[in-house]
Each structure stands twice: as C-alpha cells, then as structure tokens.
C-alpha cells in the first residue's frame, strides 16, 4: 500500500511539472496580456516597451519559464498583476481557498445526503413515483447549466422573495476571520449570528453547485443498487431471514457504494469548474471567482497558482479515493 502511495505521489510531481510547462506556454501564447491589461487605452509604444522589459516579458518563453520555475521551487509563485496588485499569488490563493472548500463541502454534503438515499429508494421502488421524480430531477441537474440554475435560484430566493442574501460570503460587519472558514469561525468565536449569517450565504450557491454531483451520484447509486439487488448473495441473505437493516446495510449498500465512491471522487474535481461559475454568479469570494477575475485581467501568476494547485488537489483526491476504495473492497487492494 505504501509503495502504491509513493508511486502515485511521484506521478503527481510529474503531472504538475508537465502541466506547468503547458500552462505557462499556453498563457503566453494567448493574444493580449498583462501589458495591455495594465496600461489600457493609455498605452503608448514607449510605455508598452518599458513595461514589457521591466517584467521580463521580452525574454524567450523558455527563459521566462525557467525563471518562473526557479522562483517557484523556492515558494515564490510571483505577485498578482491584477486581482490585488503586488500581493503574492499564493497568498491570494490561500485566502480564497477556504471559501471554495466551504462551498464545495456544502455542495458535496448536500448532494451525497440527497443522492444516495434517493438513489437507494429509487432502485427499491423502481418505476414508482419517487423513482420517476428523482430521475427527472437528476436529468434537470445534468441538463441545466449550473450558472443558469444559480441565476434562477438567486433571482427567486434572494431578489424576489428576499429569503436569502443575494451574494457574498457574509453580511458587512459580520466578519471575524480566524481560519477563513466563516461558518467555522463563527462557531469558534461563539458568534452564532455570524455563523448563521455565513451559512445563509452558503445555501443558494451550495444548492446550485450541488446540482452537478447530485445528478451523477444519484444515477450511479440507483444503477448500482439495482445491480446489487439482483445478485444472488442478496437473495440468499434475505432467504436466510436476516433483518431488513442488515441486508440493506451490510449486503446491498456496502457493495453498491463502491462505484459511488469513485464517482464522488471524480465529482470533487469537477466541483472547481462548477465553482468558477457559481462563485461568479454569487460573488462568492473563492478560488473560482479569483480564477475568473485573473483570466479577465490576464493576471498570469494568480492563474498559474490556481490551476496548478487545483491539479494537485485533483490528483490527491483521486489518490484518496483509491485508498478508500481499497479499504471498502479488499479485492482491489494493490
């Protein structure tokens, strides 16, 4: 197992290295860039040239990349040229990261806690009302773009009904940041109002973001439970007169959950792409909205950090999923 983990971690280093080259080359190959973003309509050829030289943008791209790599291995990923000019890109990422984690966890918990029971129920009562309604719901989840759902939710529940806040992570004046996870901060500092306020800000974006994993997890659970219910060992267990709870828990769900775990792992990676849109619609100050802002401003250092760390997170999550998988199903242990 340890060997397996070490091998995967080495793969991770390789993946990140290759990705950093591709990313660096791709960003620099895009038209426009930081010079026009910083100077705007005012740019004269003289000021353009001065800025290009000062930032080392006139060097060949491989040289620029090596300079970047040299600094990056020392923990310096450059400073923002747009979102918050002059601040280290990594700091911006770290500051925004808790928001995205908070949002993703809420979305995933929402999705899992709805999708798995519903998937199970749908399979047990295949063709029934719950089954049909859930399938329809999951179809909507897959078919409706997340930003559109986000927009509808915001319009109805925040603007029209006024039940929930329109955007942001907290109402103004409610912040006491300890960890950066605002709900947790409210609990830690016993500022219940602040915790509740932050939670309210999470509900709509959480639901919007949950729509993607919900649909996927629901359908996989349903299909998987249907398969397992047909298996001989379930019939045997039932025939043996085992209690309903034991059959459901130990026999059906344990086996049915295997593909679900994989699906959840993959969904966690997809959450970031959903978060870009959700966070933008809800002005939720996370990594997703930072990515969008950085792209608009051609803020390459921030873009690079976000994409690279997201890639690392994605690979690590998948590693975790594999480990978890192995724990649930001894047959696949490496």
């Amino acid at each position: 197992m340890l060997k397996f983990i070490v091998r995967r971690l080495m793969q991770l280093v390789l993946v990140v290295f290759v990705l950093s080259i591709l990313l660096f080359a791709w960003l620099r190959a895009l038209p426009g860039g930081v010079v026009s973003a910083m100077l705007g309509e005012r740019a004269t050829p003289k000021s353009r040239a001065a800025l290009t030289e000062a930032l080392g943008l006139n060097e060949p791209i491989p040289v620029q990349y090596l300079n970047f790599l040299e600094r990056a291995v020392q923990g310096d990923f450059g400073v923002s040229t747009g979102v918050q000019t002059g601040r280290p890109a990594l700091d911006i990422f770290l500051e925004r990261f808790p928001a995205t984690i908070e949002l993703s966890v809420v979305a995933l918990v929402l999705a899992i806690s709805l999708a798995i029971p519903l998937g199970y129920l749908s399979a047990r009562r295949s063709g029934g009302i719950i089954d049909n309604a859930s399938i329809l719901g999951s179809l909507v989840g897959v078919a409706v773009p997340v930003f559109f759902l986000a927009f509808l939710l915001k319009y109805w529940f925040a603007v029209e009904l006024g039940w929930l806040p329109v955007s942001g992570r907290q109402s103004i004046g409610n912040a006491t940041s300890v960890t950066g996870f605002f709900v947790l901060d409210g609990i830690l500092t016993r500022e219940w109002d602040a915790a509740w306020d932050s939670l309210k800000h999470l509900i709509l974006p959480g639901i919007a973001l949950a729509s993607i994993p919900f649909a996927m997890i629901f359908r996989i659970t349903r299909a998987s439970v249907l398969d397992v219910l047909d298996e001989d060992f379930v019939r045997t267990a039932q025939a043996k007169g085992l209690s309903h709870r034991v059959v459901r828990g130990r026999h059906v769900m344990r086996n049915a959950l295997l593909p679900v775990v994989t699906a959840v792992g993959l969904q966690m990676g997809l959450l970031l792409s959903g978060a870009v849109l959700t966070e933008t619609v809800f002005n939720f100050g996370g990594v997703g909205s930072a990515l969008e802002e950085a792209f608009r401003e051609r803020d390459y250092p921030v873009l690079q950090v976000i994409v690279l760390v997201a890639a690392i997170a994605y690979v690590l999550v998948n590693l975790l999923v594999d480990i978890l998988y192995a724990l649930i199903d001894p047959r696949v242990r490496p």
Partner: protein
C-alpha cells in the same frame, strides 16, 4: 409513505420554513446596507482596488476610494468638469506660463497630524518626479503619461517654497494641461511623514509583477474620510469619517465599498437593499431601476467614441475623400437613438462639449449615402473593402455594447457600397495590442477625459506624430497636425488657446479627417431612493461626503 421515507421532504419543508422566518428579520433592517443603520453608505464597486497609493494607481475603482481620502492642490468643481480650489485656494501663472504660484489653504492637516504647507507640497512633487526604475516602467504610469516621463523628459521642472503657505511649481513649457492635471487623483497630496515612514517610493519588480511598499497599504491624506480596512476575504473596503477634517465634515460615518464584479449582481444587491448604489448601471436597466424607485443619475458626457482609420493598414484610406466618405456613410443620429443611452449625442469632433476649445459651430457629418458613394467614386475606391474591428468582453462608458454599435456602423458602410470584414478580439486579449500595432483598417475605440483640457483629447489622439494609432504621418498631415496641436497647447492665454483649439477641431473634422468621431454617451450612476445629496461628476469622480442615507 412511511415516516422514515418522508424524512427528506419534511426536512426540506422545515428548511424552507426557517429560511422564510429569517428572511423576515433580514428585511427589517434599514436600507443602509449591512444593517449598520443610516450612517453607512454602502456602494457596489465593480472591481477590487489595485493599491491605496493613488500615485501608483491607474484604475477608476482605486480612485473612487482614494478620492474620499486624499485631496489635490486643484480639484474639479462639484457637478462640472471645471477646475476649482482644492488644497490651494488660488494659483497664478508667470507671464511665460512656466512658473505657477499656489496659495495654500490655511489650517489643513493630514490625518496623521502633519501640516499641509509649502514644504509638504514640494516633498510630494519631488517624490513623484523621482521614481526608481521599476516604478517608471509601469506603476507611475499617470505621471509618465501626463508629464511626459521623468528627468529631462518630464514637464515638471521643480518646486520652490516661497513661504509657509505659498509654493511655486515650475514646468518646462507652457501647456494647457497645467495646472489641470493636478486635479488627477494620482497627484493628490499625501502626508510627507507617512510617505517617508511607508518607504513610499520603494517599488520593486518581483517575477513578472510589481511589489508595492508599505505606504500603499496605509494611505494618509487630508480628505473627509480615513482609510479603515480592506477586508480581502470578504471583498470590502471600509473608510470612516475624518472628524478632524478642515472643511465640512462628511455626512455619513462610514462608507463601505463592496466589491461585486458582476453587473447584474450589483443590480440585484441594490434591489435587495444590501447596497445603496453602484456605478455605470447598464443602460438597458435604467428604466427598470427607476421604476423600482431608485435614482438613476445621468452625468454630462465627458467622452468620445470614435472609429479610427489606419492608412498604413489600408492604403486606400490615404485619400482624404475615402475618409470623408466613411464619415458621410455613418448614420450617427439613428445610431445614437437606437444603440446609446438617453442623453447621448452625435459627435462632430474628437472631444465633448464641456471641454474648452470645443467648436460649437461644427455639425456632425450628415448621413448622406449618395455623397459617400460619390466621394468613393472620385477617389477610385468604389470597391473598398474595410477590415473593421470591435472589442469583445468589455463595456466602456462611451461604448456600452461594442458589438451592436459595430453592427450598426457596418450596416451603414455596406449601404454606401463598402465591403466590411468584421473582426473582434477581447479587450485585454489582443484588441488593444492589435489597434496599437496597426493591424486593423478601422476600429472602434474611445476615451473618457482625465481633466478639462483639449490636449487631453486631441493631444492624446494625434499629438504624437511618430506614433499614433491613426497613422497620421502616412496620411500626409501628421507632422503638421502635431505641430499645430503643440502650438495650441503652449498658448498661455486661455481665450486665445480655446480659439486655436476650435480652429483646429474644424480642420481635423474637415481637412485631416483621421477617423470618424461617433458619439458622446452619458454614463450613469444609480442610488437607492433613500440616498440624498449625491453630486454627480462628468468625470465620474464623485465625492461621497455630501451623501446621506435614509435621512441620517
């Protein structure tokens, strides 16, 4: 359905109930934003501020904040583009227009207790003029652009203390932009002590960006508000009333700038009552916002949208008749009424009416397709094909929807027999670069003035003969026009200078025709119905100290 199976439904219903209950209490709060009561003005900002040292900033979102904290020697009179007293109560040029004597306001202190005197003013100017290499290459952009650069390139020639309240600032040549450029937010006076302690000039490059010194995080000015906090995780900037302010104290205790990049979200936040106003509402929303009880304040336009023409890229454009034909082909009036917001007008010249030197006798080119066709025929350019570009991913005050404006103009050109090849690029994704590199035959761009000076418009566009987007030298009149512009700019007498610019505007419109001035669009700002006292500025440079919220 058993109890257990209906649990999710019950839970959902319970959540909905709780939510609706808490929504009631949320709505009880005052409209003052964030439940802080009426003494807070909460403003939706479209972007994050760059740095809080205005000298290193170039963006409107930074200036919107620093404008409340800092003051310049010269300020723009509230509600207009005209210059008025700031920290200097009056100023007088020498006869040759090179030495300017400023009389400083008595009894002004920076918020750290330092006095505003002649020495403090000179400290500021010396600081601005003496930037290190890193700052000169980009961050000190406003100085570089407005004064021509640093050292021998700079317009600035020195600062002299006459007495405690009198200071003389010298420039190398008489120019219309001095002292107008002192009204720019970038050149506001900062506490010399804070500049020194904050190591203000220590800009460094790091990797492919700039790092700013401590001073840029801790602004100390003399204005009606003090900087309190930039909450980066929550995306808010808070400033509070300066109780020691020399003038009338600010009406609200606090202003919170809530950074909301998405325009529709800003509108919804206003509708939900969690902000009290925001800038540049989309013209299509103006009516709806007003119907909902908000105040959409339309400013006087201080901008120009133009279609640039580049004879280097398309040699047929070297012929002035072709350029005139394009001007006749454009139906400005219908463009203005169909694509631009209320209050917009067709342009006859490359500057708005508010600027001294505007020629009131000039009329916009009439829409005359036959004349256009005839001119094209005379020029032997009946089969003219024009690559005509517009930017995407952008909305500017002078150009709310570039694509639609482009479509309308392209239709006009086609009607006159010109074949249009439309092309587009994102604003920051190559458009500005390509315009600058002369890659388009024709393109849409515009300008919002920095201050009331003809030089800031026509001088910016055509003043540099060797490098401008219009290829004026290629078209044959570039050197001459640049010379004439410099002469007008250097005229000390204001009336005489205005007359020269008026004549020049006529010449540009009729003889030189570097492009087609299209329109002036008024940008709007919107506030909720309980906001009073906002004085709008054509330069979009509002001071918020007169604003009250909810009658408090």
């Amino acid at each position: 359905m058993s109890m257990r199976k209906s649990a999710p439904l019950a839970a959902a219903a319970a959540v909905a109930l709780v939510l609706s209950a808490c929504a009631e209490s949320e709505r009880d709060g005052s409209g003052g934003g964030g439940g802080e009561g009426g003494s807070t003005f909460t403003f939706g900002a479209a972007g994050a501020p760059e740095v809080f040292d205005p000298f290193y900033a170039t963006d409107g979102e930074t200036f919107r904040i620093t404008r409340q904290i800092f003051e310049g020697l010269v300020e723009v009179k509230p509600g207009s583009a005209e210059l008025g007293p700031g920290l200097a109560t009056e100023w007088e040029p020498s006869e040759d227009g090179k030495d300017w004597t400023f009389t400083l306001r008595e009894g002004v202190q920076f918020s750290d207790g330092e006095p505003l005197n002649a020495e403090a003013v000179c400290a500021n100017f010396e600081r601005m003029a003496n930037q290190n290499e890193a700052a000169q290459s980009g961050p000190a952009e406003y100085w570089a652009y407005s004064t021509g650069g640093f050292g021998k390139d700079s317009l600035y020639d020195g600062c002299k203390v006459e007495d405690e309240q009198t200071v003389v600032i010298s420039v190398k040549r008489a120019t219309s932009k001095f002292p107008a450029l002192l009204s720019l937010s970038s050149f506001a006076m900062q506490s010399p002590k804070a500049l020194e302690e904050g190591n203000a000039n220590n800009v460094k490059t790091q990797g492919q960006g700039f790092v700013y010194p401590e001073n840029s995080k801790n602004p100390v000015g003399s204005g009606p508000y003090l900087f309190e906090e930039y909450d980066e995780a929550n995306k808010t900037v808070t400033i509070v009333r300066n109780d020691d302010y020399w003038g009338e104290k600010a009406k609200t205790e606090k202003i919170v700038f809530k950074i909301i990049p998405d325009e529709s979200t800003r509108r919804q936040e206003l509708e939900a009552g969690s902000i009290d106003g925001y800038d540049l509402p989309n013209p299509v929303d103006w009516k709806g916002l007003e119907e909902a009880g908000n105040k959409v304040e339309i400013r006087d336009p201080f901008n120009i949208l133009y279609m640039g023409l580049n004879p280097e890229s398309n040699p047929k454009l070297k012929d002035v008749k072709v350029r005139q034909a394009i001007n006749y082909a454009i139906d400005r009036e219908s463009l203005v009424s169909s694509q631009l917001p209320e209050g917009a007008s067709a342009a006859s010249q490359f500057m708005p009416e508010a600027v001294k030197g505007y020629n009131k006798d000039l009329e916009p080119y009439p829409h005359d397709v036959d004349k256009a066709k005839q001119l094209l025929k005379e020029a032997g350019a009946e089969n003219l094909t024009l690559q005509f570009a517009y930017p995407s991913q952008v909305s500017r005050p002078y150009m709310p929807n570039p694509q639609k404006i482009h479509e309308a103009i392209a239709n006009n050109l086609e009607a006159a027999g010109i074949t249009v090849k439309a092309t587009t690029k994102p604003w920051n994704g190559g458009y500005l670069d390509n315009v600058d590199a002369g890659q388009y035959d024709a393109w849409l761009l515009g300008w919002t003035g920095d201050y009331d000076s003809a030089d800031n418009f026509v001088g910016t566009f055509f003043g540099n003969a060797s490098a401008n987007d219009f290829g004026t030298v290629e078209a044959g009149y570039g050197e001459q026009l640049a010379k004439e512009l410099a002469e007008a700019d250097g005229t000390v007498d204001e009336e005489e200078r205005a007359t020269k610019y008026e004549e020049l505007n006529k010449k540009i419109a009729e003889e030189y025709v570097p492009g087609a001035p299209i329109s002036h669009s008024p940008p709007a700002i919107v506030v909720s119905e309980d906001v009073e006292g906002l004085v709008t500025s054509p330069l979009t440079a509002e001071h918020f100290d007169t604003v009250t919220v909810g009658g408090e």
